[in-house]
């Protein structure tokens, strides 16, 4: 008998598609396994921080999501679809790096490239597109320097413009690769808040790769910690514990809570013992770049 009266949606309720779905996902280069058996359903509006030592495969995970590096095992879906190269549904914010002072682009133009930089041939931007660029700049508070040459912007200003660029296509998933690196604390906070506001207002899911959990500790919903070929996923309070990390690193590791900050001590990859999440207090912040 045909039951055409009820659709699956009526029976099951509204179908929510994960912004990002990884099932049994693995990545290895030859014998070296970066991560394997990774299962993750990232909901719209969720903030996921990806942590782990250098070379653990954090950036490779982003490359897989961007469609630049195929998984060696499992499946990866973005909004229910296979990752394509250069989708408008995915925004990307790289780490800050200095740009040549003589680059012939203004902040506004860099955001514009986020919209049509991947299109061939000459074209004139439509009024609607110009408005979108202006709106994106306004949303990150960059209107005041929209027409300044990007090469003359400070690191913090540049990262705001990069976020505007990444959000100009109204993506459902925002990937950030160390976006706070080499920013001073005030700009770290401003940039993190901007990303947080976006996911609350537009339900954009965020994957945030970082060395430093502390600037975003109060914003993240879940943490994906990758180390030694293994990984743990869960709320920060469950993953960032001495037990979990000792298990992951297979060596005793201490997680300390110091005045609301998380400090990880004794990871084997750092001879000094004190590492990544050890954010030095504001009064003694390291110079930019010193964290790497």
């Amino acid at each position: 008998m045909q039951s055409s009266l009820l659709s699956p949606r009526d029976i099951l309720g509204p179908v929510t598609t994960s912004a990002l779905s990884l099932r049994g996902a693995g990545m290895s280069f030859g014998d070296r396994v970066l991560w394997s058996g990774l299962d993750l359903e990232l909901q719209p509006g969720e903030f996921l921080a990806v942590l782990g030592p250098n070379g653990a495969g954090k950036s490779t995970l982003l490359k897989a999501v961007l469609g630049q590096q195929p998984l060696t095992a499992g499946t990866l879906l973005i909004g229910g679809r296979e990752p394509g190269r250069g989708s408008d549904r995915v925004g990307y914010v790289p780490q800050q790096k200095s740009m040549d002072a003589a680059t012939p682009l203004r902040a506004r133009d860099l955001v514009g490239l986020g919209i049509d930089g991947n299109r061939w041939g000459l074209r004139r931007r439509t009024a609607a597109e110009r408005q979108r660029i202006a709106d994106a700049l306004a949303a990150v508070g960059a209107t005041g320097y929209a027409d300044a040459p990007i090469g003359l912007l400070s690191g913090g200003e540049q990262q705001r413009v990069r976020i505007a660029q990444a959000l100009a296509t109204d993506p459902a998933l925002l990937l950030c690769d160390e976006p706070l690196l080499s920013l001073d604390l005030r700009h770290q906070r401003a940039v993190a808040d901007m990303i947080d506001r976006r996911r609350h207002d537009h339900d954009t899911a965020v994957v945030f790769v970082t060395h430093e959990i502390n600037p975003v500790l109060d914003l993240v919903d879940r943490v994906l910690y990758i180390a030694g070929g293994g990984h743990r996923i869960g709320p920060p309070s469950e993953v960032l514990t001495s037990e979990t990390l000792s298990e992951l690193y297979r060596t005793p590791v201490d997680v300390l809570n110091v005045r609301g900050r998380v400090v990880v001590v004794g990871t084997p990859d750092e001879p000094g013992g004190c590492t990544h999440h050890d954010l030095t207090p504001p009064a003694a912040a390291q110079p930019a770049g010193g964290a790497a």
């Binding site: 190269r85 012939p104 913090g156 110079p287």
Partner: protein, 292 residues
């Protein structure tokens, strides 16, 4: 000084160099536009390297009694292909160029010393010639220019994106390698045009100086190529018009005009930077003092 300038019969002379003026104007347009990316992609050394191989190609054609235009195009494209294929990273690129350049120059000198025709033909390849452009060669120059301009129009925006913002461009699915090779080949063609008009030694004055000057005074992605083109056309055409009055080659005039424009632009930019170029409506936030 009498030898330098003698403007009697100027009108009659002008008729004789009609083709050369068209060629120079075309070269200005092509050089000015291609020069924008020579600057953005930091490829000044490549321009010099390609021009030496283009010279070798032209010298071989002269020796064998073939078309000098075809010889210079073949030399250029061969050099561009080698540079594009062997030197993807800037470091590799520069060493490949450093190896190719003296080899090309040596070959060129060998071919020229074996050549027993008119001495002016030899000298012209190195320092430019004004009356050498006959209608057949003009046809060549126009055809090559059209190819370069059409190619640049197709790749302009993606090339700008991948040149100034490689990570995000890759995330948006742009093929950096393909764009790099495509541009290097177009650059090769543009260089071969320049070799035939201003000579191999002075190609830089039309492919590097005008864009470098334009970048000093504007960061607009529209105004920069426009100014660069105007500067290059003024240098090339102006050089010929001045050279008509004397018996010395065209290149000193072209290089002097283009250098003078560059100096003026530097002065303008220095003054503007003192009065705060890129100043914003909202004063730039001062970073939180750290390490104090």
């Amino acid at each position: 000084m009498d030898r330098l300038f003698d403007f009697d019969d100027y009108g009659a002379l002008l008729g004789l160099v009609h083709n050369s003026l068209i060629a120079a104007a075309l070269l200005g347009v092509v050089g000015g536009l291609v020069g924008v990316f020579v600057q953005v992609r930091d490829m000044q050394f490549a321009v010099h390297g390609i021009s030496e191989l283009s010279f070798a190609g032209a010298a071989a054609a002269l020796l064998l009694g073939g078309s000098v235009a075809l010889g210079s195009v073949l030399g250029s494209v061969l050099a561009a292909a080698l540079i594009g294929a062997l030197g993807v990273r800037a470091r590799d690129r520069n060493s490949v160029i450093g190896v190719l350049m003296p080899f090309g120059l040596g070959l060129g000198v060998l071919f020229l010393s074996l050549y027993e025709g008119r001495a002016a033909n030899k000298f012209g390849l190195l320092t430019g010639q004004i009356v050498a452009v006959d209608t057949v060669r003009l046809g060549w120059l126009v055809a090559v220019s059209v190819v370069v301009l059409a190619g640049m129009a197709v790749i302009w925006r993606p090339l700008m994106f991948t040149s100034v913002d490689p990570e995000v461009a890759a995330a948006r699915g742009l093929p950096a390698g393909v764009l790099s090779i495509a541009f290097t080949l177009l650059l090769g063609l543009a260089v071969s045009l320049a070799v035939q008009v201003v000579g191999a030694l002075l190609v830089l004055s039309l492919l590097v100086t005008p864009a470098a000057a334009a970048f000093r005074v504007t960061a607009s992605p529209v105004l920069a190529p426009v100014l660069s083109t105007v500067f290059a056309v003024v240098s090339a055409v102006g050089g010929i018009l001045l050279a008509l009055g004397g018996s010395i080659p065209i290149s000193p005039f072209v290089t002097t005009i283009s250098f003078a424009i560059y100096l003026v632009c530097r002065v303008v930019s220095a003054r503007r930077q003192r009065s705060g170029w890129g100043s914003r409506e909202v004063p730039a936030p001062t970073p939180v003092p750290v390490g104090s």
